[in-house]
């Protein structure tokens, strides 16, 4: 039997009087790729940010890699070392070169000697096709390149889980494919991926599950073939037809 690596039990979260998450329940098994989709403001980003404790939940329980994220005695720093996170706006450290952005975790947290940390960072940069840019600072890299460095940084601690919050939304259309190809190359490596995205082609080809959210609720969980051919919920049907229409226009 599969043991879930991420478990959500009736998770609720409010910002003031706005209920961003309403009783979200779900499980993700190790090595699975889950794509979270839904309209803006449906709670996708909040949900993924709750998984590594960037947002604190108000109700329910989240267990990641055997650790209760919201428990008082949880060392979030320890947990976060086992969860890579990629932001929509890349959020690289602008004063550090690409290689230092990728090696900072190894050096500061695992006390890996500088030379070895840089060698390991270079391997990761190679993997995202940016070894030749290792000594550039973020301002000298394009958006797509910055996001690839950010993925390398998220992978630097060799985490079993990686979370991505709309990793391609801020990118120019022509480089979206590069970033998605890197994510696709991670599938099947045993790493668990949770990705918030509007890229339905990616969701369909790479995802194991689609989670569809609306108004803070997780209203549909299905494998991509089912989700795209026979969505249960009327909102999901509407969402899919809107997405396909905008794809045809493009």
């Amino acid at each position: 039997m599969m043991v879930p690596i991420i478990t959500l039990e009736s998770v609720g979260k409010s910002f003031g009087s706005f209920r961003a998450l309403k009783s979200v329940t779900g499980e993700i098994n190790a090595g699975e790729i889950v794509v979270i989709c839904g309209l803006s403001g449906s709670g996708k980003s909040t949900l993924i940010r709750c998984l590594n404790g960037l947002e604190a939940i108000d109700e329910g329980r989240i267990v990641v890699d055997g650790i209760d994220v919201a428990a008082r005695n949880t060392d979030l720093n320890q947990l976060r070392r086992r969860i890579g996170f990629v932001f929509q706006q890349y959020s690289l450290f602008p004063h550090l070169t690409a290689i230092d952005n990728v090696s900072i975790g190894l050096r500061r947290l695992q006390r890996v000697p500088t030379e070895e940390a840089r060698a390991r960072a270079l391997v990761l940069l190679e993997r995202v096709g940016l070894a030749h840019r290792s000594n550039y600072v973020p301002a000298e890299l394009s958006g797509g390149e910055q996001q690839r460095v950010a993925i390398a940084r998220a992978l630097s601690m060799n985490p079993p889980i990686i979370l991505l919050d709309e990793p391609t939304s801020a990118l120019d259309p022509e480089v979206v494919g590069d970033v998605l190809a890197i994510l696709q190359s991670l599938s099947g490596t045993g790493i668990t991926i949770v990705c918030v995205t509007h890229e339905m082609g990616f969701a369909r080809n790479v995802g194991d599950w689609i989670w569809f959210m609306e108004d803070g609720s997780l209203i549909e969980k299905a494998p991509p073939e089912l989700f795209f051919s026979k969505p249960h919920h009327p909102s999901a049907q509407r969402f899919i037809s809107t997405i396909w229409r905008s794809h045809e226009r493009a």
Binding site: N77, R81, F87, S91, P94, R108, A139
Partner: protein
């Protein structure tokens, strides 16, 4: 004015040095630089306290800044000079009294400059550091401060120009800095107060003007380097 310069320049520049104590313009610079060197780390600590999530530290730092900003520097100098020796039971030289007063005063102002720079960093920077699992000190030391300090170099230099001017208050404690020296020269000549004090004004102006020009240059450079990444 030139004759004043010709006759008294060694005294105005160095005081009685090397035959007596150092003074004059050199003393002004020494006080300003020592003050800056001491103010800088204490302002960083106060700014970190104010931006920390530890409420006690935050409130204490806020109280310190509010009180110090509410009193004139001259009064602070008197408090340090007259009250502190009584409280500590040991005399403090006018030189160190002046520096201590300037450091306390400027720590309040400079900490606000640094706090603004820390708070102006994009939220994603802290979140990215948190997501890596970096704890407080490496996060501050490797991510927050390098960026915040770099961005506030113009503000730091700006406070430094204020400090240079504030050293002239050493006059009231008979610290032999430039203003004190100029006044002594004036008392000696008696008939040329305009020349003496115009020279004094020009000297302060030249130093501060040079610094503000430097600030302008740096501002342009910093803007160039960070505009593209500001959104990230």
């Amino acid at each position: 004015m030139l004759d004043v310069v010709q006759q008294y320049w060694p005294y105005l520049l160095f005081g009685s040095y090397p035959n007596g104590p150092l003074g004059g313009f050199t003393m002004t610079l020494v006080i300003a630089i020592v003050s800056l060197v001491l103010t800088f780390p204490s302002a960083v600590l106060v700014a970190l306290a104010r931006t920390s999530e530890v409420r006690v530290l935050e409130h204490a730092a806020f109280l310190f800044v509010t009180i110090v900003r509410g009193i004139p520097l001259l009064m602070l100098i008197f408090w340090v000079y007259f009250f502190l020796p009584v409280a500590l039971g040991t005399p403090i030289s006018p030189f160190w009294s002046l520096i201590l007063a300037i450091v306390v005063f400027q720590t309040a102002y400079l900490s606000e400059v640094l706090r603004a720079a820390i708070e102006a960093l994009p939220k994603g920077q802290t979140e990215a550091a948190l997501s890596l699992g970096l704890s407080y000190f490496p996060r501050i030391w490797k991510v927050t401060l390098p960026q915040a300090l770099y961005n506030s170099i113009p503000g730091i230099l700006n406070q430094f120009t204020s400090m240079i001017k504030e050293t002239s208050l050493g006059y009231v404690l008979a610290v032999e800095e430039l203003t004190y020296a100029a006044n002594k020269v004036n008392n000696f000549i008696l008939v040329k107060p305009f020349s003496v004090f115009a020279l004094l004004a020009l000297t302060y102006f030249a130093v501060c003007f040079t610094l503000t020009q430097l600030v302008r240059l740096l501002e342009a450079r910093i803007e160039n380097r960070f505009t593209r990444v500001a959104a990230a």
